[in-house]
Amino acid sequence: MRLKRSAVAVATASLLALAACGGGGDDDKGSGGDASSTVDTENLGNTGNGMDPTRQGPVTIDGAKAGGTVTLLTSTGWTTPIDPTDLYYTDTNAIMSSLVTRALTQYDYDEDSGQMILVPDLATDLGQHNDDYTEWTFTIRDGAKWETGAPVTADEVAFGIQRSMDGKTFPNGPGLYYSNPYFLGGEDYKGPYTDPNGQQQAVSVDGNKVIVKMAKPFPDFPYYASFPAMGPIPTDPAVNDPAKYAQHPLSTGPYKIEQYTIGKSLTLVRNDQWDPATDPARTAYPDSYVVKAGGQEAQNDQILLADSGAGKTTINYSDVLAQNYRKMNDTGRLVVGGSPCTYFYALDQRQMPDKSIAEALTWAIPYNDQIVASGLIPGVNAIATQNVMPPGIPGREPYDPVEGHGPFQTDPAKAKQILTDSGHLGFEIKFLFATDSDTSVASKDTLLKGLEAAGFKATPVASTNAKFVADRDDVNGDINLRSYGWCSDWPSGSTWVPTLFESTDLNEVGFGTNESAFNNPEIDQKISDVFTLPADEQPKAWNDLEKEIMTTYMPVVPRYYTGVAIAHGSQIEGMSVDNTLGMPTFRDIWVNAG
């Protein structure tokens, strides 16, 4: 069950959708070796790939008690949309899909494996497909209701899916990357708001069945179906008006929105129309949830450390600060877990003489020093890498891109030897840093030192926080080393190899997500070939292709996988880490008032 379907990967573009990363997701963060021994790095990065199409509700937790208010703190802004169709960030996704909005499928935390498992939600199973994965049929279950008491109908689910094709109205949503490219006629249909008279061909309804037709095979659709965008939206135009609905999306889940101020707060109270028997994963023990966004990181940490009053039922889902890690860990209220992201240095292939530069760089990067300098904790939220794809991706086999190079190993002498042998001693590495971010400056200092010790000529190029991403993504910018991070939307090699290594038209679209400007027609052909393979052969094929690219050309130098370290109050029970998103497992949380 586990590998079967996720193995079939045809997706070509997966978007990094991480609010929790904060900022541009580009801060120079290195990795380090001497992590605390309390962290299980083996399971930490496992990003989940199981499925269970037969799971039934209701779900209960032995000994769990109902009641209490859970406060969620975060230093990031909650400024991204919560309209289900426009929602594509990990924090809003985790909270809204776990507590408020239901979709066709959902993830549930599996205690035994520590992974997330894909289970049905509004659909009765994980969908039925035709032979070439171009038509998916979901049966909508009975008994699911809106917060108004009206039943959730197949028509409303179909409308929600249609709505996701309106990229102009919902520019933040995942529809642009999956609905439009994959759905039949999705490239032409502009959506129900932008083109009210247009005819869409993708979504149809047959009784209580929703049928989605694809323009090309989409075997990963059940994963995509877990996004809030693949859920119901009321068909009444007065209710689903995008501007209005974004302020107050209607609930189908266990909680409904009582109050919502963008960028500031969200209060969720019980939705008594939700029937646990219809839900295979959500438990909903607490009476209410309050999200408070935008607080100071240090202050949020202090609330959790003090653990008094409301702090006892509080979760700070932004990572604990490095300086508070020891103290927080001693309280036993710190939960660590993985999130499916890899940070790497992309070497501009237009300027690289050969692979030796990347090999030397692999030895030269002061992984540990850089991670510490940028305020991350090696082995906790920056975990040693080997492959580009993080653990948990089906088919992934660990390998060393540079022979003999261990995780987080730095050896300037070896780097110098490689450069001397290849005649590139003194090769100039130009990289960006932001003068107004101390972590960026500190990380620049460590990298500069590491590069110079290894015999490179290092030229840091100054930028500012505000301009950093634009400067980095400028294809004509005078830099040849770009720091980049990538996260998978679901566990599949198809969201990694094509996105990072398929050539893009630099003049027309820029790097896209191929930040190393890697342009190799032979590899492009091999990527297309993998898509035509039988579904169960694709995972291994992706891994083999990644290994081939990395050992032959090495356009990127992996630095670390991300992890999360989330602190919770002493009365919070059942909190683990949802490692598909790097967020708490909100579906299983309850308050133990003693």
Partner: protein, 346 residues
């Protein structure tokens, strides 16, 4: 006017304003202090002021520390910049969570790093403190000298010229007084960075020069107004009128007749400028608007605040240094003002 034996106290009722002195000397009414310039009087008063002597000693000590920073750091083999090729690796001095592996707060004192190591960044606190002190003093001194020169010249011109030049200078002074300098710095910082993207040494120099320029740009107005006011009243005095009548050139009147009478307000304003600029530099660097490639006490404060709970020493070092510097400059300034202003007494 009378002086006691130590030349310390003036009698109340007859104390003439300092500016009288030249005229008085001319009339020769005060025989016993003839030949003693007001500056000499002030210095002799300062020498007997315990606060002034203590503050001067502290300042000399701090200046010496700053001057000999390279020698001291070499003697201890410590570095303020971790990217220095001879500096230890970050991982040699820092634990996985950024706290130092040696020295405070979790380990005993070590001579290798007498004041500890900065968490997360790994530089030596003593070395950074010394170089930060250097920057502070350099910025404050340069800004003070420039502000004083500009302030005095404009004040002299405005006060003496009468008419349109006075009005223009006064208007410009008011405009600059009304402009918020923090806003100016906020706007300038990113522009400077984008101007010097690849040459980091040039960027560091540019930031230093910009910081000094900004401090000067928004610092000269007070002195200009003060000097203008003084000149306005002096201008009508007999000795100036006499000089004008006998045809002394304007330049000579300005520099030979007026300026010597303005020594007191200038010295006092210098003594107030110095600590003000030290604090302003620290404040701007704390906000990340000042210096990035140069060590600065303000930046050290900003680095240290997150660690206050566990590593208080790290924050107290720069805070203590700034306090000591500004406090002694201020107290010395107070004493200087007292010494130069015969109407004040202790």
């Amino acid at each position: 006017m009378s002086l006691d034996a130590r030349g310390e106290v003036f009698s109340d009722e007859q104390t003439p304003p300092l500016v009288h002195d030249e005229a008085l000397e001319g009339t020769g009414t005060i025989k016993q202090i003839a030949g003693k310039s007001p500056t000499q009087i002030a210095l002799s008063r300062l020498r007997h002021d315990k606060v002034a002597v203590t503050c001067s000693a502290v300042l000399v000590f701090l200046v010496l520390l700053a001057l000999f920073a390279p020698l001291i750091t070499r003697a201890f083999d410590i570095y303020w910049d971790i990217s220095d090729p001879n500096a230890p690796e970050v991982s040699d001095v820092l634990d996985f969570d950024g706290y130092p592996k040696i020295g405070p707060p979790f380990h005993p004192f070590t001579w290798a790093h007498p004041l500890g190591v900065a968490p997360r960044l790994g530089y030596d606190n003593l070395a950074y403190l010394l170089y930060g002190l250097r920057t502070s003093l350099l910025v404050a001194l340069a800004a003070t000298i420039a502000s004083t020169i500009i302030g005095v010249s404009l004040g002299l011109m405005a006060g003496f010229s009468r008419g349109w030049l006075d009005r223009v200078i006064s208007f410009v002074t008011d405009v600059f007084l009304a402009f918020p300098y923090l806003l100016g710095m906020l706007a300038l910082a990113p522009i400077i960075v984008s101007r010097f993207t690849t040459d980091l040494d040039a960027l560091a120099r540019a930031q230093l020069i910009t910081l000094i320029s900004i401090l000067v740009l928004f610092g000269w107005m007070g002195l200009t107004r003060l000097i203008r006011g003084q000149v306005l009243s002096l201008r009508e005095r007999e000795f100036i009128l006499a000089a004008e009548v006998i045809g002394v050139p304007t330049r000579k009147i300005l520099f030979k007749e007026l300026l010597p009478n303005l020594v007191a307000p200038i010295v006092v304003s210098i003594s107030l400028y110095l600590p003000g600029f030290v604090a302003a530099e620290a404040g701007l660097s704390f906000l990340g608007l000042g210096l990035t490639g140069t060590p600065s006490l303000g930046k050290m404060v900003a680095d240290a605040t997150p660690y206050y709970a566990d590593y208080g020493l790290y924050l107290w070092l720069p805070v203590g240094a700034i306090t000591l510097l500004t406090l002694s400059l201020n107290l010395l300034g107070d004493s200087v003002r007292d010494a130069f202003d015969p109407r004040s007494r202790r």
